[in-house]
């Protein structure tokens, strides 16, 4: 059974290789090959899952050793896969959601001439993501970590001819690299601390190391997680990443890749458990990000960017939960999975809306679409209910648990974190209701606005072909797109309940992550009640602002906070001024220094010799008499020298 693990990765990898190397002759069938191989991987996953379920809870770890990768003295890196409950959860999420999105993309990318390549990249992503979650050591995880970064780079920049897409892709990769730096330093620290970086030895001996080292490792891992999971302060790339095709946003930038940071923290739980300071920083980052993302999400008019803000915020929840230690690990992963369903569903819904609206992304030009796209409306609506935590749906169970756990952290921290989480829930309800209302309800603002302002962001290039000046004719998307949406909506509705009832998910994961209840100052009921109140407040405010009043077609200037939030709370501006400008000045001055100083010293020496030779050359004027003078002078000097020597 272990041997199947490698096949999990091999199938999409094969797909990527075939599709990318195969060339144009595969254009006709490429998307089906990609989908097929992704589904194959899912099937393998299901088989393995069945196998795991058949085993004892303590015996659910499968290892597959392929070959020795880097053997240098004490530094031994193997290509070994580990399939345990945690990886299994991810495998199913990745391959399951991944396959659905493959299917969706078949329809969504139908008119794109580079569809084969798109599927190649998607398969590459799947392979890398599976490698990430299946790796048995941090170095191999690093390969998957950067692999998903590469796939993300390729997919964000899929429409490379758009400078904005290319820039966004580059930005995503480079910001992620900053995080990767954290991961590599963490691995180096592990190597110096433990002499190895395989999960088994590191995690089982974590308590042997000094707390200072563990804190350092933890913080570095957190840096890595911040980069990949778009947490403050490395969150700036996620909004721009929405330049990619919508299925990409759904799969990579909502459901799977961005949650890799959470995986990393949960996987390294043993390290964090022994380093409370690092844990505290993790919770702070999570709390800050969940509010940050939520605030940003409230202000965006671009539907995808609003959802991106939401993603950021939801991952903030997960990171917060993961930072709480054993109280929160399971709920972090549970929220991760449910989030995978409903956020992917929401993105696919957004894609479907854009598909029907000539790739318009500005929600101020939507409105009243529920009549035209019933399936999209229903699935999106279910996703909406799930994310705001409507009782009974997925988000309710998972988010509620996290808020509970935050309070259960205890002490002042618990109160602060819990309050943040509650506040976040209210804001979530607000901005998601806003999205919902602006898109599907209200007047049809897309009518009587045949021309769009040139500044309006255009996500999809096909818009140019479809005639962007025509009035959009909203229509439901084809079956191949709606079926995945329906499937994800089902997941959004039932997953949470399925997991929570009887604590199924808790029991499943507990052997890996451990679990403790903590002692909450509030009862579970009280927390749920508070959450419900927050939810109602959030929805209510949104309804008052966007449901009762007409939505202006041009965004009002807004308060200072709104304007800042529209600009990602000025973080990009900060980056631009400090890092980009500063970097430009630095490189420019270094180029100057290299040219004038470093090279200048050498060239100056050369020029000095050249000048001296030029002077000396003039002595060689060709006149015999000049030569005679120097000869005579030389003779005189010789005589003088002789006399001097005699005198001395």
């Amino acid at each position: 059974m272990e041997n199947l693990i490698a096949l999990l990765i091999a199938a999409p990898l094969l797909g990527a290789a075939v599709l990318l190397v195969g060339g144009r002759r595969l254009d006709a069938v490429g998307h089906w090959i990609g989908t097929l191989l992704s589904t194959t991987s899912f099937v393998f996953g299901v088989i393995l899952f069945a196998d795991l379920l058949g085993r004892n809870a303590d015996d659910r770890t499968l290892m597959q050793h392929l070959f020795t990768w880097v053997p240098v003295a004490g530094f031994q890196a193997d290509v070994t896969f580990r399939l345990d409950q945690l990886s299994m959860t991810f495998v199913l999420l990745i391959t399951g959601v991944g396959s659905l999105i493959h299917l969706y993309s078949v329809g969504y990318m139908e008119h794109d001439e580079r569809r084969r390549r798109f599927f190649g990249y998607l398969n590459l992503f799947l392979a890398a993501m599976l490698l990430l979650v299946l790796a048995d050591n941090y170095l191999l995880l690093y390969v998957g970590w950067e692999g998903v970064g590469l796939a993300s780079y390729l997919l964000i920049g899929f429409w490379q001819h758009k400078p904005s897409a290319a820039t966004a892709a580059k930005k995503a990769f480079i910001v992620n690299r900053v995080g990767d730096m954290g991961l590599s330093i963490a691995i180096m620290l592990m190597f110096t601390t433990f002499g190895t970086f395989a999960f088994g030895p590191v995690l089982s001996h974590a308590t042997d190391a000094s707390e200072g080292r563990l804190t350092a490792i933890g913080l570095m891992l957190l840096l890595a997680a911040c980069g990949k999971s778009a947490q403050v302060p490395l969150q700036s790339w996620l909004g721009d990443a929405m330049e990619g095709p919508t299925p990409v946003s759904a799969l990579i930038h909502a459901a799977t890749m961005v949650t890799a940071g959470v995986y990393l923290i949960v996987r390294s739980g043993a390290v964090f458990n022994a380093a409370p300071d690092a844990q505290l920083v993790v919770t702070v980052v999570g709390a800050v990000t969940l509010l940050f993302g939520a605030i940003v999400g409230c202000a965006k008019d671009d539907i995808k960017k609003a959802l991106a803000g939401s993603t950021m915020s939801q991952i903030g929840y997960m990171v917060l939960a993961a930072g709480l230690g054993p109280i929160g690990y399971v709920f972090a992963i549970m929220h991760l999975v449910t989030h995978g369903f409903f956020k992917a569903g929401l993105f696919l819904g957004a894609g479907s809306v854009m598909h029907g609206m000539n790739d318009e992304v500005d929600m101020r030009r939507y409105g009243g679409l529920r009549k035209y796209m019933p399936v999209t409306f229903v699935t999106f609506g279910l996703g909406y209910l799930a994310i705001i935590g409507f009782p009974g749906l997925s988000g309710f169970f998972s988010k509620d648990k996290i808020i509970e756990a935050a309070f259960a952290k205890g002490g002042t921290e618990g109160w602060i974190l819990g309050t943040c989480a509650l506040l976040g829930a209210a804001i979530t309800a607000f901005y998601m209701t806003r999205v919902m209302l602006m898109t599907f309800f209200g007047e049809e603002r897309w009518r009587n606005q045949p021309t769009r302002s040139p500044e309006a962001p255009s996500a999809e290039p096909a818009a140019e072909h479809r005639g962007e000046h025509a009035e959009p004719h909203p229509h439901e998307s084809p079956k191949v797109m709606t079926i995945p949406m329906i499937a994800l909506a089902i997941g959004s509705v039932f997953a949470g309940g399925f997991f929570s009832i009887g604590d199924r998910f808790l029991h499943w994961l507990e052997p890996i992550t451990g679990h403790s209840e903590g002692d909450s100052p509030l009862s579970a009921g009280a927390v749920t009640g508070a959450t419900m109140v927050c939810l109602v407040i959030g929805v209510g405010i949104a309804y008052l602002q966007y449901g009762r009043r007409p939505v202006p077609a041009v965004a009002p200037r807004g308060s200072l906070l709104t304007r800042a939030a529209r600009r990602d709370l000025l973080q990009d501006d900060f980056n631009h001024v400090v890092l980009v400008r500063g970097g430009e000045h630095l490189t420019r001055s270094l180029v100057y220094v290299d040219h004038t100083l470093v090279d200048g010293v050498v060239n100056g020496t050369a020029a000095g010799f050249g000048g001296l030779s030029g002077r000396l050359r003039r002595l060689q004027n060709g006149y015999a008499r000049s030569y005679a003078v120097s000869m005579f002078g030389g003779a005189a000097l010789l005589v003088a020298a002789t006399l001097l020597m005699r005198a001395v």
Binding site: N621, Y623, R625, S626, V629, F632, G633, A635, A636, V639, A640, L643, R646, A647
Partner: protein
């Protein structure tokens, strides 16, 4: 007599001779350097050499004194004069310096070197003069001959070879080998006809009857001198005399004189100006 000359301290006569002739020698040397014309330089040098010959004699080198006069002053300096005659006076005779700083450097080096030499001589202990009396006891020439044909015989023989080589070398250098038969007069005239230039003989130099020297170019009808009329060598040396303006000058002087005599106010004929300019 030899004893007397060879004494350690010289006689008053020799001292007198030294100071007088020495002055002459230095003056001759200086004029060799500073005379503008090579002929003058050569003559000054000859004078210095003669003085040196006298000094040789005074120092007991009788043979050398005679050789100095016969060979150096008589033969070599005459050779110089021949060459001066062949080469002639050229622009090189101008004492104006063309290389920047050359003169000052040369003077500096010269003075410095001189000072050093003087210092060296003054520094050396040159008190003890044996005199040549002993050496010249059997006669100066015999003494020299004894040395040349014994001790210095190889050097002497080699010197002979050197002289032969020099003579041959001089011939080789100055002799131009003719590689083809010289053209006869007939052939030359035929060539001229073929090439169509200067069919008649070249015009003669000289102007009227007054200036028939070979270095004066004949005047063309418009009064300008024609260089064709003078020999190529003179042209190359830049030794042409221009007399085209002389007639006009004479005419003007004549007119002036006649006008003075006739007590008229001098009239400057405008048409004469052109001639003046041409003469410049």
């Amino acid at each position: 007599m030899s004893q007397q000359f060879a004494a350690y301290a010289t006689s008053t006569g020799e001292a007198f001779q030294f100071w007088v002739l020495g002055t002459v020698a230095v003056i001759g040397a200086l004029s060799t350097v500073f005379m503008k014309r090579a002929v003058h330089s050569a003559l000054s040098l000859a004078g210095t050499m003669i003085v040196l010959a006298v000094f040789y004699l005074a120092n007991g080198a009788y043979f050398l004194g005679i050789v100095q006069i016969v060979v150096y002053t008589g033969a070599i300096m005459m050779l110089f004069l021949f060459v001066v005659m062949l080469v002639g006076v050229t622009a090189a005779d101008s004492l104006k310096e063309t290389i920047k700083g050359q003169r000052w450097l040369a003077l500096l080096c010269g003075v410095g070197f001189g000072v050093l030499l003087f210092a060296g001589i003054a520094n050396a202990s040159l008190k003890n003069f044996d005199g040549t009396g002993q050496a010249n006891a059997n006669g100066n020439v015999q003494g020299l001959a004894a040395l040349i044909f014994t001790k210095y015989v190889f050097a002497f023989e080699i010197t002979g070879a050197l002289l032969i080589t020099a003579a041959v070398g001089a011939m080789v250098l100055t002799h131009r080998e003719r590689t083809e038969r010289p053209k006869t007069q007939r052939e030359q005239s035929e060539q001229r006809v073929r090439e169509g230039k200067h069919l008649p003989p070249l015009p003669a130099p000289g102007v009227y009857a007054r200036h028939n020297a070979v270095d004066i170019a004949g005047l063309l009808p418009d009064g300008t001198p024609s260089e064709l009329t003078v020999s190529k060598t003179l042209r190359d040396r830049g030794q042409l005399r221009d007399v085209s303006a002389q007639a006009l000058g004479d005419l003007r002087a004549l007119e002036q004189r006649s006008e003075e005599r006739l007590e008229r106010t001098p009239v400057e004929p405008a048409n004469l100006k052109r001639g003046e300019e041409a003469s410049k």
